[in-house]
């Protein structure tokens, strides 16, 4: 059974002028532990599709199943225990600490009035260590750099201990070193991953499979080598590119040449 199974989904933006298209005929799977990438030009619907997957956008038609259960038949809390999301949405500057932000990730696992247990705190501590933020728990979130904020939000998603991790442009704002560390970490972490990417070389290097989204439709899917061809990059992204094999690894490597 697939971890995430999206069947024949369509979704139309509520404010039509925002996007000239609708998501239509979307079929997508993520297997347990699999790392799946979503690529496509700006405004192709990546973020909207991810929102459908974590029960934010209710689909107009079609279904979204998680471990065989229709997520719209379940409560938000049920979904939050199984899907964690790392967004590009930063908390308002009201004076939250790194600790406060990360501890929110435990919310779906805690009962109504309970505080953070010793186990929760331990988990938060080790996770902060994993993302390289040891000792920054008491820093104000607002005072961090963009990259550090991103890592805090990743830590929050990880302490949610999800089966599926949904990431919207996870490597934005990150230094090359942390981009690689982050993705390596995610590959081995256990949960299945569905992530949207801007950087196609990173997508090629880390994803088991890719889906290509163009104006609300999936136009290709498969392994990076199947999907990332010179012809397709020209069609979908409108760019001439050279695609060869990475000199040190078996995945494709893209070199951008010029706008088509």
């Amino acid at each position: 059974m697939s971890l995430l199974q999206i069947n024949n989904l369509s979704w139309e933006p509520r404010q039509r002028q925002e996007q000239p298209w609708r998501l239509e005929g979307i079929d997508l799977q993520v297997e347990p532990g699999e790392f799946v990438g979503l690529i496509g030009p700006n405004g192709s619907g990546k973020t909207s599709l991810l929102r459908c997957a974590y029960r934010f956008n209710p689909p107009d038609t079609g279904t979204v199943h998680l471990s065989g259960e229709d997520i719209w038949q379940q409560t938000p809390r049920w979904v939050a225990r199984r899907i964690a999301v790392m967004l590009q949405e930063f908390p308002q500057d009201f004076g939250l600490t790194v600790m406060d932000v990360v501890a929110m990730g435990r919310t779906p696992h805690q009962s109504w009035f309970a505080g953070d247990s010793a186990a929760d705190l331990q988990l938060i501590e080790t996770t902060l260590q994993q993302v390289g933020l040891t000792g920054k728990g008491n820093h104000s979130f607002a005072s961090l750099s963009g990259g550090e904020k991103q890592r805090v939000l990743l830590a929050r998603a990880l302490v949610q201990q999800p089966d599926l991790l949904i990431l919207d442009e996870p490597t934005n704002h990150l230094d090359p070193r942390f981009q690689l560390e982050l993705l390596q970490h995610l590959r081995g972490a256990g949960p299945g991953v569905l992530a949207s990417f801007h950087d196609l070389n990173l997508a090629a290097a880390f994803c088991d499979r890719l889906y290509v989204l163009d104006r609300g439709r999936i136009v290709a899917s498969g392994t990076p080598a199947d999907v990332l061809t010179e012809q397709r990059l020209e069609q979908v992204f409108g760019v001439h590119a050279l695609v060869d094999t990475h000199p040190l690894a078996p995945h494709p490597r893209i070199t951008w040449i010029s706008p088509a």
């Binding site: 929102r51 974590y54 029960r55 934010f56 409560t75 938000p76 809390r77 049920w78 979904v79 939050a80 225990r81 899907i83 964690a84 999301v85 967004l87 949405e89 930063f90 908390p91 308002q92 009201f94 004076g95 939250l96 600490t97 600790m99 406060d100 932000v101 929110m104 990730g105 919310t107 779906p108 805690q110 109504w112 009035f113 505080g115 008491n138 949610q160 949904i166």
Partner: protein, 341 residues
């Protein structure tokens, strides 16, 4: 100033604030046209609570302290705590640091209700006519704002704030029109009520605000995790398992009702709900399980002291407490802002 982070530090702060509040209340009982020393105040309070016997105070002093001043002080503390709670929650749920209890149109509805009673209906329920009418007005304006702001059962913060401001203007226009064309004497008494005051306080009436503030505190505290999440954003809150639609409705209805009760009893006291949450955040940060108790205590403490000022500055007359909160609070915050640089 770095906010207090440690558990022990936080507990100490709560203890200190609660102690200060108790002490301030006792001191406040001594201030006024007839000064009563703190020792006597303490004696009277203990006697009235049935803990200790009599002392060397006159019956008149006991009357003034316990029957006139004490309910007023308690009401002040409740109003301060309630408004600060409402402000904290609204600022989080709207993600707007300028949100305040009066922004949702509740106060103007209350004012209109008060005007109608004073000008046309008269004292249909004795001394309670004005607060009753004000509460009905507040309730109507709240329903109006929520109806205008909600679309397909969905309540968006931006629309809510705008609807609140718009409804406020319309209701205030009506109230002002009635005042302008109405009897001058009645207009004065409405004006006086709108400036805020704790003069209506009586022991037999206090259970109502006490119950409401307590219920509001428990309700908002139970929503504090959701408030944390909503402060971070709509999608974050959903991804953490909150039904944001329900949470918003709960917070708005709960805060509007609480504001309605408080405004009805004490008029439109400004500043407390807007600024005290910010001061509380400076002390303990924005995490709502920590913030809400501190915010409530600070609000209570603030109003108790402002009430002392209001009673002594132009004694033997009372300064309307709304004027005092705005003037003192505003000046205090300006000093705070300057010092930050």
């Amino acid at each position: 100033m770095t906010p207090i982070r440690s558990v022990a530090g936080y507990r100490t702060l709560l203890g200190v604030l609660a102690g200060l509040l108790l002490l301030s209340c006792l001191m406040s009982l001594g201030f006024g046209a007839a000064q009563v020393p703190l020792a006597k105040v303490l004696g009277i309070a203990l006697q009235q609570l049935g803990v200790a016997g009599g002392g060397d105070w006159s019956l008149g002093q006991a009357q003034i302290v316990w029957q006139i001043r004490a309910p007023r002080v308690v009401l002040g503390a409740l109003v301060g705590a309630g408004l600060a709670l409402v402000g904290s929650a609204l600022q989080a749920v709207t993600r707007n640091p300028l949100a305040d209890p009066h922004l949702l149109g509740v106060s103007s509805g209350a004012a209109l209700g008060a005007v109608v009673v004073v000008l046309y209906l008269g004292e249909f329920a004795g001394v309670f006519s004005l607060p009753l009418a004000a509460f009905v007005g507040a309730l109507c304006s709240m329903l109006l704002v929520l109806t205008i702001a909600s679309r397909h059962g969905r309540l968006e913060s931006d629309r809510l704030l705008l609807a609140g401001v718009a409804v406020s203007f319309v209701l205030m226009a009506f109230a002002n029109l009635l005042l302008y064309t109405g009897d001058q004497h009645a207009a004065n008494s409405v004006m006086f009520w709108m400036l805020g005051g704790l003069g209506l306080a009586q022991w037999k009436l206090l259970w109502l605000p006490a119950l409401c503030v307590l219920a509001g505190f428990v309700a908002l505290l139970s929503l504090s995790r959701a408030l944390n999440a909503l402060m971070s954003g709509e999608q974050t809150a959903v991804s953490l398992g909150f039904n944001t639609r329900h949470v918003r409705w709960q917070v708005f209805v709960c805060t509007s009702l609480l504001t309605g009760v408080l405004v009805a009893l004490s008029g439109a006291i400004g500043f407390v709900g807007l600024m005290l949450p910010h001061m509380a955040r400076r002390l303990v940060g924005a995490e709502h399980r920590r913030l809400l108790p501190v915010s409530a205590l600070l609000g209570a403490l603030f109003v108790v002291w402002v009430d002392i000022a209001a009673r002594t500055l132009i004694a033997p007359q009372d300064l309307p407490i709304g004027i005092a909160t705005a003037a003192i609070g505003g000046a205090f915050f300006i000093v705070l802002l300057r010092r930050k640089v």
